[in-house]
């Protein structure tokens, strides 16, 4: 055999370069990005509306104000009903499954792209970082919009149930009533919703992207969706 030109090690891309590639990808796939993001928005909107609604209910009940419509037929001493817990848990599950599903689909249809990028010299880590950035951005923006929609929904429902009194006792900030459970307040609920949406989107996207990145490119490129 002739001279051995040693094969060098692939370099890492500067972060800015990854950021540019991911934003360009989001921009060009705008329609598809919006649909994926809408999945996140819906999940978080549902969760936050149920949760905020519950916060409002508890707050107004603490204030001694009876709701015009009795939604607390099963109220326990702590002021939180099993029905409400059930609702929150259910909405949380719907949210987790919905977001995981929409991210998974969005990644699966890009397996070929992942294989192709690896043919061009992408490191596995770059592929994962790309999906992390894209999904992080989608997750945050989708969840923020969802949380705001959810809060708005809960406020409208509260207005219907309690009228303008809602605004006097609105549980905006965390509170610890003397004889009641800790209340998170709507701001914290919105924040938690955003964080949850972002984490779910990032995990739901990076995990399948990581698995696809580990595949030999030949296999990744075989998948037709």
């Amino acid at each position: 055999m002739q001279q051995r030109t040693p094969i060098e090690e692939q370099i890492d891309l500067p972060f800015v370069e990854s950021l540019r590639i991911s934003f360009q990808s989001l921009k060009i796939r705008f329609g598809r990005s919006i649909i994926t993001t809408a999945g996140i928005t819906l999940g978080i909107a549902f969760l936050v509306s149920v949760w905020t609604n519950n916060e409002i209910g508890v707050a107004l009940q603490e204030s001694g104000r009876q709701s015009t419509i009795n939604t607390f037929e099963e109220t326990t001493e702590q002021g939180i009903s099993t029905k409400d817990i059930w609702l929150i848990v259910m909405s949380l599950i719907v949210c987790v499954v919905g977001i995981a599903n929409s991210m998974l689909m969005a990644v699966t249809e890009r397996f070929r792209e992942i294989g192709t990028m690896k043919c061009l010299g992408a490191l596995d880590g770059f592929v994962v970082r790309l999906f992390l950035l894209e999904s992080g951005f989608q997750g945050f923006s989708g969840a923020l919009i969802g949380a705001l929609i959810g809060t708005l929904g809960a406020v409208l429902l509260g207005l219907k149930d309690y009228g303008l009194d809602l605004f006097f006792y609105f549980p905006l900030l965390p509170a610890q009533p003397e004889n009641g459970p800790m209340q998170l307040g709507v701001i914290v609920v919105i924040l938690l919703g955003c964080i949850l949406g972002m984490i779910l989107a990032v995990i739901g996207s990076s995990f399948p992207a990581w698995r696809a990145a580990k595949l030999p490119p030949a296999e990744a490129m075989r998948t037709e969706v």
Partner: protein, 244 residues
């Protein structure tokens, strides 16, 4: 001794599907010299693409070794394999495999981004390459806005971005009409003669025969025979004769 770029040693590839094991490559031994134009021919399912993937480090053989530039591919680290794909090989596929979120220009620059080339330099190079393949006026079109032949030209420009010493093409003309296919073959042949790029191409396309230095016939995962240029020319005559 000749300058061997690619050498395979008893390369076996098995695919496991449930309890069945399919032996797609059954011990392939070939040596390819620098600057050669090699066509892998054979019926559908004979293992051409599988061999293509082994030579291009797109998949790992079940058994056997692949040497490129004397380097045993199974001994490379992840980073070395990525660098190998980035710098040493240009891939051209039947289905183009362009990134549809990036323009023609963006597709050509991507391997250069991975190689760490400056923005200015890679823009210049991409323009030069796209000009060379005849797409100077379509640089910023997305792949979806291009015809099949134009997409394949983008793929060729992209394959050349980091000046590879080997171009691997898996049925580059299979989705194209005869005339466009001919143009693509001529383009690849030009790289081979003018720039000394080693070309390894899997194909069904008889038009590929008369530009090849050697033809490797693959059947059932084995090398059936290897024909040289002089033997080929006779047969191209026959093929031409049959057509009339």
């Amino acid at each position: 001794m000749n300058d061997i770029v690619v050498k395979t040693e008893d390369v076996v590839k098995e695919y496991r599907m449930g309890s069945n094991i399919l032996r797609a490559l059954d011990g392939i031994n070939i040596e390819i010299e620098r600057g050669e134009y090699i066509s892998l021919m054979g019926p559908s399912g004979s293992g051409k693409s599988t061999l293509f993937n082994m030579i291009g480090a797109l998949d790992r053989p079940t058994e056997g070794q692949v040497y490129i530039d004397g380097q045993n591919m199974s001994q490379l680290s992840q980073r070395q394999i990525a660098a190998f794909r980035c710098h040493r090989v240009g891939y051209i596929f039947q289905s183009y495999n362009l990134l549809h979120v990036r323009s023609a220009h963006g597709n050509v620059t991507l391997p250069m981004i991975f190689a760490g080339i400056s923005e200015r330099e890679r823009n210049e190079k991409a323009e030069k390459l796209l000009d060379m393949v005849g797409l100077g006026d379509r640089m910023y079109h997305l792949p979806d806005e291009l015809s099949g032949g134009q997409r394949q030209r983008v793929a060729i420009a992209r394959a050349l971005a980091n000046d590879p010493s080997i171009v691997l093409a898996d049925e580059p003309t299979a989705n194209l009409d005869t005339i466009t296919g001919r143009e693509i073959i001529d383009l690849i042949k030009r790289l081979n003669t003018e720039q000394g790029v080693t070309v390894i191409s899997a194909t069904h396309d008889l038009k590929m025969l008369d530009v090849s230095d050697r033809i490797v016939d693959i059947r059932d995962g084995l090398v059936e025979r290897i024909r040289n240029r002089d033997e080929i020319e006779i047969e191209v005559g026959e093929v031409g004769g049959e057509g009339e």
